[in-house]
Each structure stands twice: as C-alpha cells, then as structure tokens.
Amino acid sequence: MTKYAFHRSRAEMLPERAPPLTSTGVIGWVRTNLFSSWLSAVLTVASIAVLALVLPGLIEWAFIDATLTGELGKDCPSEGACWAWLDQRITQFFYGFYPVESYWRVNVCLALLVPALAYMLFDKLPYARYGRWYSLAYPVIAAILLVGGLGLEVIRTDQFGGFMLNLIAGLVGIVLSLPIGILLALGRRSRMPIVRWFSVSFIEFIRGVPLITLLFVAIILLPLFLPPQVTLDQLIRVMIIITLFASAYMAEVIRGGLQAIPNGQYEAGQAMGLGYWQSMRLIILPQALKISIPGIVNTFIGLFKDTTLVIIIGLFDILGQARLLQTNPDWLGKVDYETFLLAALFFFVICFSMSRYSLNLEKRLDTTRR
C-alpha cells in the first residue's frame, strides 16, 4: 500500500510571480499617486482640467505664435510672445552693464564657483581636503576677478547687473548669514547678559523693521551723516543690510533647532568634559542644524529673492533689466510678460535647486532607522 503523506508539501519554491498589473508600472504609479483616494482622484481630474484649459493657450502664445527674430518691437505682431529681443539683450540680462570685453572674468568666476560649491555641498569628492581650502579661498579669488586689482582693470560695482548681480548678492548673503545667524542664536540663549541683550535687541530690531526701510536708511540717510570723504560702496551697503536681515531670521530658525535638542545632550557634553564651544561644535549644533535645514533653506531662498531690491540703489539686476527693456521705446508694450517670464525662469532654477539640495541633504543626514 502506497504510503501517502499526511500533509501536502512542495519540494521546491514556486517561482516568483510578477505583482499584479494594477500595482506596478504606469498603472500602479497612477493608482498610488493620482487616484489613491476619492479626494486625490477629484484633485487629479481638476488639475488636468485646469492644465488642459491653460497649457494649450500658453504653449501657443509662448512658442507656436511667438516671434523669434526681429530688430524692433514692431517686428512682433501682437498675438504670440515676442522673443526677438533675446539675442540682443540676453547678455544684459545676465551681465548688466559689465564691460563686454570683461565678460570672461564673470565666466571664469562662475566656472570656478562650480567646484567651490561642490566641495562645500557634497562629500566623497576626490581631493576633498584641498578642495575645502579652495572653497574658503574662492570668495577672495572671485572678488579680485569681478572687481579688479592685481593687474586686472578695476570695474566699479555700479556696472554690475543682471542675473550675475543676483547671484553675487545672494551668495554673499547666504554664505555670511548662516554663521552670523548661528552666533546670534547662541547669543540669545547665552547666560551672559550683555551678549544675550545684544542678540535679542538686534534680532528684534531687524525683524521689527521692513527690509526696504533698512535699505533706505543705509542708502539715503547714511551718506548724510558720514563726512563726504567717507564713501562706502552702495552695493556693499546693500549686501550688508540684506545679510544682516537674513541673519536675524536665520538666528530664530536655528534657535528653534537648538530648543529641540533635549537637555540630556547638553549634560552629556558637560559630562564628557567638553567646554562650551566644543560641546556646541561636536554635539549640539550638528543636531540642531540638521533639524533646522528646512527653515534655513527657506531663509536662503527668501534672501535670494530679496536681492531684487537692489533696484532702489539704481542697480539693475535681472528684474531691473526686464523693466528697463520694457521702457525702451523700441520695445514698449511688446515685452512686458516675456521679460518677466525670463527673470522668473532664472529665479526658479536657482530656488528649486536649493530646495532639492536641502531635501537631499536631509535624507543624507537622516540618522533615524526607519
């Protein structure tokens, strides 16, 4: 009599089968991302409807009906975008009034900026040790290249302009406002009364006054009170004000991060015999800054957009150049939207990259084990 097994069993595993069609591939992605619930289904349909309403017209205006070549505004018929100014004016939108024969200095500066930024933003790059030193030296190199000196012809800062000016003012502000903000945040939590008092009054004063008011004070009032011999470059004045303004906000962002660190961490630092600065550097700040990343990048992006305010000292950043072209009699009334679109595009690229980088940084520094 054949002996049957009491239970049924398999000798080998079944081969893996593909997940159901509805949870993979395009269909799966659509299901999980666009139609995961009634609400998102409604929103998806509504968004598609809005896009269908807006996009064809926009594309038709911006590309299909657009005029790409021409010498003057009247070469542009009124329907469709007018891009004919681009080839003549794009350099001014980028370099402002910087002398044409010196454009290479800006270009070199930008090319050198790439590795300088890379060594600051990413680890695991080759020669990182030297790279970091290079990043530290970069501001000096850039300043000499842009302004002149050491045999290079001097270029006044009122010739700066276009998107290059936004980049310079924004980068200087970003690089300086973080350390100043950290110091202010620590100062505000300090037990030393003078330091604390100074930090609190500085932060509250700056946050209590609109940026444009501070700029007017720096630009209009300051020269009236300084003797005529003392001249501080207008652009430097503006960069100082923008930096201080961002620092005050930065300080509060970082203070939020500091407050999220449990007391045990401070005590752990003391227990290990670390001094104040050591425990800050090694234990507290790395954690606090990590928490504050979204807020910090928020402030950075805000600062970068505030650089458009240089128009009030008569410098023409990319937005200023856009307005300038709009007032040119040859282009009057033809390029209002196009020029602003171009400026918006430039800003979007930079601000969006900043926000993506901060997401990436958050993931990289994430030490929780989920």
Partner: protein, 342 residues
C-alpha cells in the same frame, strides 16, 4: 507723514551737513573736473527719456542733457557716471552730493525749488497731465467724464491733480488705483477703467503701444502744469549757471540753426553775431562761466541742438512720435524761449 515732508526733512538735513562740510568751497565745477566725470542723476527707466540701447548705453532725452553738460564741462560726452534714481531717492541723492546734476523728468514746483534747497535751471520739457479714453465712449472732452472709472498711479501728484480737476468741474469719478505705469496700461487695455490718466507725454507713448491706436484718443484737457527740467543744489551759482546755459545753448542752437552737423564749421566764425558769441569765436562768454570758449560747441556737438535731441528720442524720429506742442520754439507757436547770449 507724507513722503514729501520726509524728503524735505532729509534734504534739509543734507543741506545742513553739506553746508557744514563744504562751507567756503562750494565749487562743484572744481570737484567735477577733479573727478573727471560728471555724476548725473537719471531715471531708472522711462520711455524716451532714459533707457538703454542694445549695447547697454544709457540714452534718451534726459540723458542727452547729461551728455551735453559733460561735453561742455569736461570735453567728453561720455565722461559721465550715471546714477539711476527712483522718485524717492532722487532728492536725497542730490542733497547729499551723490550727484552733481539731476536730469530726471522732475517737475519744477515751488516747494522743491524753495523748501528742498534746489535750483531748477530751466524747463527742458513742458508736460501736463491728460486723459486717454476709447473713442467708443463717444465723448470729446474730459469734462464729460461724469461717473467714469479712472486708472491712476498711486502716490503721485497725478492722483492729487485728478481729484482737483473733478472737484473743480463738479463731476464724480471712480478711481482704480494702480502701482506702476505698465500695470495701468494693462488695466486700461483690459477695460478695467474707462480712462487712464498720466502725463501727456506718457499717454502719447502709451497710445503707440495699443493694437489700434485710432480707437483711443487723448482728450484735449491738460489738467496740470508739469514743467520738467534739470536741477542742481542751491548755493553754487556758478555751477547752476553752467547747467542753465548749457540748456539755453541747446535751445538757442535750434533757434539759430546750429546743428550737430554744422556746429564745428560754424565755430570758425559766421556772420551772425549771436552764434559767434555762443560758439566762442567772438567775446568771452565761456570764460565768464569758468569754462573755455568752445564749451557750447562741444555741448551741441554731443547730441545736437534741442530739436535734434527731441526728435531723436521722443519726437518724430522715435517710436513715441510726440508732437512738439508747447515745446516748440516761441517762433513756432510753442513757449520754448532762451534768454540771449550776450
């Protein structure tokens, strides 16, 4: 506190500081010569009056005056550092000495001349506030605008003039406040208002940008006087004289037929005594100003006489195509009139 009062206070403070620092040596001319450039305050961009060309050079009606003055004083029409000023920063910049002369479509008013401590050196452009409306409205005069909605730029004298005009005529209106000129134009085109008001030069410029200009008309009423002209700090009469007579030289050049093309030739001497005095082949007017004999020759050679400058930037040779109107010479039915060179 209105901006005007603040500006006044700042300008007075500036004048005091400047007066304290520069008492006894108010010679702007020497400073300009020492610096080698004329610091000229201009607009941050106004169609026809101050804008940039494709090479990024400043050009326009107001800019041309700067060039004429730089040529007269320094011998080089390009020896200028342009300082771009907004409506808010222009007066403090002049008061604090940041600029030597302001050529920025600035209306000559009593309080600016007297209270702010500036000297207006003349009128380079007679403007006035007007209205533009659709011909489809079927009215021919601004006095028939009862109940109309009016697009205006806020915070300007145009707003006050508008209120005055409607009050005087006993008619009502509905203001549609707008921030910038470009927005106002867009709002008017989108029919958010029946009429749009700003300076007549601006209206004419705006009209050229409409798809069909013939559907829009500028009403004949001009509701304010806006004499625009260059100005300098009060207290340096020699510098004010140079600025004033540079403008007068451009106007007189038109009157006497001196142009950019023929000025060099005429400078060698003509049979017209006033031309000879102005261009320095007779008399010593240049030395009286503290300049050399050829100052007016260079000023006219820079961008041409008044008519040439007008036509090139805002007049018949420009897209704006403004008519001369009040800005024609007194001999041609306008009110442009320069005192004699004698």
């Amino acid at each position: 506190m209105s901006f005007r009062k603040i500006a006044g206070a700042i300008a007075v403070a500036g004048a005091l500081v400047a007066g304290g620092a520069m008492s006894g040596q108010a010679a702007t001319l020497d400073d300009v010569k020492a610096a080698g450039t004329l610091k000229c305050g201009i607009n941050t961009g106004l169609p026809g009056f101050a804008y940039t060309d494709d090479a990024g050079n400043w050009t326009g009606f107001d800019v041309a005056y700067c060039r004429a003055m730089a040529a007269a004083v320094l011998g080089d029409a390009n020896a200028i550092s342009f300082v771009n000023l907004t409506g808010k920063t222009r007066f403090p910049a002049l008061a604090s000495g940041e600029i030597d002369v302001l050529s920025r479509n600035t209306t000559w008013t009593f309080s600016r001349d007297v209270d702010l401590g500036f000297t207006f050196i003349g009128v380079s452009y007679y403007d006035g506030q007007g209205f533009i409306g659709r011909t489809a409205l079927g009215i021919g005069s601004a006095t028939e605008l009862d109940g109309a909605s009016v697009c205006i730029q806020t915070g300007t004298t145009t707003e006050l003039n508008l209120a005055d005009f409607f009050r005087v005529n006993g008619i009502s209106y509905e203001p549609v406040p707008i921030e910038t000129n470009a927005e106002a134009r867009a709002a008017y085109e989108a029919e958010r208002c029946d009429v749009y008001t700003t300076d007549a030069s601006g209206l004419a410029a705006t009209r050229t940008t409409f798809e069909d200009p013939s559907q829009h008309m500028v009403f004949p009423e001009i509701v304010s006087k806006e004499p625009l002209g260059p100005l300098v700090r009060q207290g340096d009469d020699q510098w004010a004289d140079i600025a004033r007579w540079t403008l007068n030289a451009l106007i007189t050049a038109e009157e006497l037929g001196v142009t950019q093309a023929n000025v060099a030739e005429m400078a060698n001497g003509t049979d017209h005594p006033e031309i000879n005095r102005m261009l320095g082949s007779e008399g010593s007017l240049g030395e009286m100003l503290g300049l050399d004999a050829q100052w007016a020759v260079r000023a006219i050679a820079a961008e041409g006489n008044y008519a040439e400058i007008f036509d090139r930037y805002i007049g018949k040779d420009s897209p704006l195509a403004l008519g001369r109107g009040l800005n024609a010479l007194y001999t041609d039915g306008g009110i442009l009139y320069s005192p004699p060179f004698r």
